[in-house]
């Protein structure tokens, strides 16, 4: 097991390297840099721009170095917890991001749990009642969840929640808790606001998961051991719970790898529409103003989140399923 964990963590390194190269390329691609757009903005406001000062700033932040060297600086900085400097906010990136990252993690995590709680019983029902009306209806409902754009669903739910419950549900917490340290009341406020984004983001991933769980369970139900169990007189429910369900539980854990990117994508858009205090709204702002280190840190963080999520699901799978953890080792 330890060997597997070690191997699995080592495999993350090249993945993260490729991701960092990709992210750096993306944030490097726009012509010009923050200083240019800053200078243009100043000029538009009718203020003079001191080119010498700009050049000095460029030199200070290393913008006069070749791209490759800047990349290595960037990666080395991140390894030490230094994500660079946000030009727009005039503070280190890590100060800007801070809490927002944890809230993103929180929203994503709760969404995954929500997806599981919804998808599991529905997938089970659909598989055991294949081609029934319930199966069709639930599948269709799931598809609708895929088809409605997340951001529209967010707007509509926001409107109806306002009418029915009278709560304003932009944001992730009551406005007075914004800058406050974590407290019991703040946590309560977050929980009260959390359910809307979770439902919205969850709809997209749930349908896919139901579909795959259903297909997986159907495959499993056709196997011979199920027939044997039925033939010897085991109760259908017990037959289902005893083996096929446990088998598809593995799949359930491993499927996180495929829904996590979708969930994080959805979370970003929903966050922008609902102006949640997560990474979404800030990411789009940073992208617009070419605040490259901030945007890069966000992209890197989101990618890192998925990679870690997949790692956790792989490890959980290895605990559940001995075949997987033994494959890496030499015992046979």
């Amino acid at each position: 097991m330890l060997r597997y964990v070690g191997w699995r963590i080592a495999a993350m390194v090249p993945t993260l390297l490729i991701i960092s190269a990709l992210v750096f390329t993306i944030i490097e691609l726009p012509p010009g840099d923050y200083f240019e757009s800053y200078a243009a903005e100043l000029r538009a406001q009718g203020e003079g721009v001191d080119m010498g000062q700009l050049e000095a700033l460029r030199a200070e932040y290393g913008f006069d170095q070749p791209v490759v060297i800047r990349y290595f600086y960037w990666v080395a900085g991140m390894l030490q917890g230094d994500f660079g400097y946000s030009f727009e906010y005039q503070v280190p990136v890590s100060d800007v991001i801070g809490n927002r990252m944890w809230l993103t993690v929180l929203v994503s995590f709760v969404t995954i749990v929500f997806t599981w709680v919804i998808a599991f019983p529905i997938g089970m029902y659909s598989a055991t009642h294949q081609y029934s009306w319930g199966d069709y209806g639930l599948t269709f409902l799931g598809l609708i969840g895929i088809a409605i754009p997340n951001f529209m669903l967010a707007l509509i739910l926001m409107y109806f929640a306002n009418i029915w419950f009278g709560t304003s549900i932009g944001h992730l917490m009551d406005q007075r808790y914004l800058g406050e340290p974590m407290s019991w009341d703040k946590a309560k406020s977050i929980v009260e606001h959390l359910w809307i984004p979770v439902i919205i983001i969850g709809t997209a991933g749930t349908a896919g998961m139901i579909r795959r769980l259903r297909a997986n369970l159907l495959d499993e139900l056709q196997k011979q051991y199920v027939m044997t169990a039925r033939a010897k007189g085991l109760h259908p429910f017990r037959t289902l719970v005893k083996y096929p369900l446990r088998m598809s539980l593995n799949f359930f854990v491993s499927d996180i790898g495929s829904i996590l990117p979708a969930i994080i994508s959805g979370a970003e858009i929903t966050a922008i529409v609902l102006s949640l205090e997560t990474t979404g709204p800030m990411l789009i702002k940073a992208l617009r103003s070419q605040d490259m280190y901030l945007a890069g840190a966000f992209l890197m963080f989101l990618a890192f989140l998925t990679v870690i999520g997949v790692l956790i699901s792989d490890l959980a799978l290895a605990i559940l399923d001995p075949r997987i953890r033994l494959q890496g080792g030499s015992t046979k």
């Binding site: 088809a147 754009p149 529209m152 707007l155 994508s265 922008i272 617009r288």
Partner: protein, 390 residues
């Protein structure tokens, strides 16, 4: 039936007059013969036909794509026609009966009053003003496909009257017409995007599957990484790169390329795995023994074998692209006006107050949902039909 001869007497020699066919026992029935002799395409069609929803979706999508060919003709107004007297006018109902009498399709005229307290425009039906709709009539002048100048529309309001079946937006533009025009961009962006990713997928996946070795390993790794990344933030980042100064058309192509750039991985994976599996088939060995070179084997024998799978995979990934475009445009990172797509139309409904006061601005969502559902069902049907021998 002749009676048996008496015991002891020799049996009479009997010859059946019926023609003798030694294969009659083994010959298949006409029904089976039909199945066995059918070409692969025909088998696929039969299998596809069984998936009712997929067929219905195919018909719907065909109708949508036909629509974009003639949208100037179908739309009652032009894309940018503004009706300053009817700003934020709610949808009008097409009626057939006026006070119990059949009149034919018509709408009531509208009168607008400004509520001086809320400054909200209030529209009321004027029950005396019957405006009969005209068909195949002259309306806004336009250039059909930018070539033929004409002004024929399928349906237009009565002379001097107005007709807004889905309401108007903040500039008094007809929402229905804009949805019809928006289909042009929204529906083609998925197709162009999928061609980009199709090309990338086949070339990269094909090379990886055919050459194997280090290249395959690297490609595998890259595919894994790209698939594990959340696509929308990356799309956002790529879309933000495009400078504001670009012309809308260039931005359109930029967006399609961006959508395709991150989407080829699924196709490449399918191509690679299929290529690896099919390479070991006997018919490939036979072709090799007959002296076919590798490009002929790939082009003539391998690719036709999994083309159907590729098309099914591609169909399933189109909805993601359409949604991606909608989301990007909604966030203001994708297409920009004056280009009109469904995503652009939905940006009008960006705030809760719009939903509260002008809910008809949400209508562009309906075709989005329909098209995405249709592509999903069609993809399901195609995937089932892609392997008709199973």
């Amino acid at each position: 039936m002749t009676p048996l001869p008496p015991p002891g007497a020799p049996l009479e020699h009997y010859v059946s007059a019926a023609p003798f066919d030694p294969m009659s026992v083994e010959a298949a029935s006409a029904e089976l013969k039909r199945v066995y002799q059918a070409s692969q395409l025909r088998l696929m069609w039969w299998k596809f036909r069984q998936h009712r929803l997929a067929v219905a979706s195919a018909v719907l999508l065909a109708a949508f794509y036909l629509m974009i060919l003639i949208c100037e003709f179908l739309a009652p107004y032009n894309l940018h026609t503004r009706n300053m007297d009817f700003i934020y006018s709610p949808p009008q109902r097409v009626r057939l009966f006026h006070e119990g009498q059949f009149v034919g399709p018509f709408v009531y005229g509208r009168t607008m009053t400004l509520d001086m307290e809320t400054l909200k425009r209030e529209y009321a039906d004027d029950r005396t003003d019957i405006q009969r709709l005209r068909f195949f009539c002259r309306g806004d002048a336009y250039k059909f496909w930018d070539v033929i100048a004409t002004d024929i529309h399928l349906v237009c309001p009565a002379e001097g009257g107005e007709m807004f079946l889905l309401g108007t937006d903040r500039l008094g533009r007809d929402v229905l017409s804009r949805i019809i025009y928006g289909a042009r961009i929204s529906l083609t962006i998925g197709l162009v995007g999928i061609s980009v990713s199709f090309l990338l997928g086949i070339v990269i996946g094909g090379l990886a599957g055919y050459h194997g070795g280090v290249f395959d390993l690297i490609v595998q790794r890259i595919i894994e990484v790209i698939q594990s990344l959340p696509s929308i933030p990356l799309w956002m980042a790529l879309a933000a790169i495009m400078p504001v100064t670009w012309s809308p058309l260039v931005i359109y192509f930029g967006i399609t390329i961006i959508l395709g750039l991150l989407d080829w991985t699924g196709l490449a994976r399918a191509v690679r795995s299929k290529l690896l599996a099919l390479r070991e088939e006997d018919y490939v060995l036979a072709a090799q023994l007959m002296g076919a070179n590798s490009s002929r084997i790939i082009g003539r024998h391998l690719i036709p074998g999994f083309m159907s799978h590729l098309i099914a995979t591609a169909t399933i990934s189109i909805p993601g692209m359409i949604l991606g475009e909608t989301a990007l445009s909604f966030l203001g990172l994708g297409l920009r006006p004056p280009i009109t797509s469904w995503g652009i139309l939905l940006t009008e409904a960006r705030s809760v107050s719009v939903i509260a006061f002008y809910p008809w601005l949400l209508f562009p969502m309906v075709p989005v949902i329909l098209v995405i559902l249709a592509f999903n069902f069609l993809g399901d049907g195609l995937r089932d039909a892609a392997d008709p021998y199973r």
